[in-house]
């Protein structure tokens, strides 16, 4: 199992959600939250594939966060 922790001040929650949806068919996912992180746990029988999916998902979440204006933009939008 690979555990990815996305800090709330660096990644948009919506970006993480969207990234997980994008990779939903490629691994087993479990989502949870910690006070400072969005947590994504993923599992695949093939260790290499698991690493690859985890890495690509992380990149995608980063890319989407940047594209949407960064982690601060959600707070600005709510304000």
């Amino acid at each position: 199992m690979t555990v990815l922790r996305f800090h709330r001040s660096l990644y948009l929650g919506t970006a993480v959600d969207e990234a997980v949806k994008g990779f939903a068919t490629f691994a087993e996912f479990e989502l949870s939250e910690e006070p400072e992180h969005w947590v994504v746990k993923l599992t695949h029988a093939d260790v290499d594939r698991e690493r690859r999916v985890a890495g690509e998902l992380g990149n995608w979440a980063l890319g989407l966060s940047v594209q949407k204006g960064g982690a601060g933009s959600e707070a600005k939008a709510r304000a």
Partner: protein, 142 residues
């Protein structure tokens, strides 16, 4: 800065007062075609960037140049962030002039498709209001 051969990754920890988040995003982003990139905040005021090469053996010879390139890109992005703030007006003016000059005026077809109904600006004095709307007789009001 650290190289973790066990996990095949290189990590750089930063002082956020020196490298604004926008600069960290910009620097980290350029690696996503060849590395898996993860950002984290180990403590208040600190950021951490972890790079793991997508392919090939993640040896020290591979990871060390990645750290160097990341460091250079971080400096470049941080400085660019400051320059852009300082020169925002001239950058905007040149870009606007260049794009407007290249685009030219809209055609009648393009004007027809333009949505003039959206509120483009606040009008507290009613300057943009038509004479009829401004002086509409009360009996005509719905």
């Amino acid at each position: 800065m650290a190289i973790d051969l066990a996990s095949g990754s290189a990590r750089v920890e930063l002082d956020e007062s020196l490298y604004p988040l926008e600069a960290v995003y910009g620097a980290a982003y350029i690696f996503i075609d060849r590395c898996y990139v993860l950002l984290d905040r180990p403590s208040a005021g600190r950021l951490r960037v972890t790079l793991s090469p997508k392919t090939g053996a993640a040896t020290e010879a591979v990871l060390r140049p990645l750290i160097g390139e990341l460091a250079n890109e971080l400096l470049s992005c941080a400085w660019r962030y400051e320059i852009t703030k300082a020169n925002k007006t001239v950058i905007e003016q040149i870009t606007t002039r260049a794009i407007a000059g290249a685009m030219g005026p809209p055609s009648l077809d393009e004007l027809e498709k333009f949505d003039f109904s959206s509120d483009a600006f606040e009008d507290p004095l009613g300057i943009a209001m038509s004479w009829e709307d401004k002086y509409k007789k009360k009996k005509d009001a719905p």
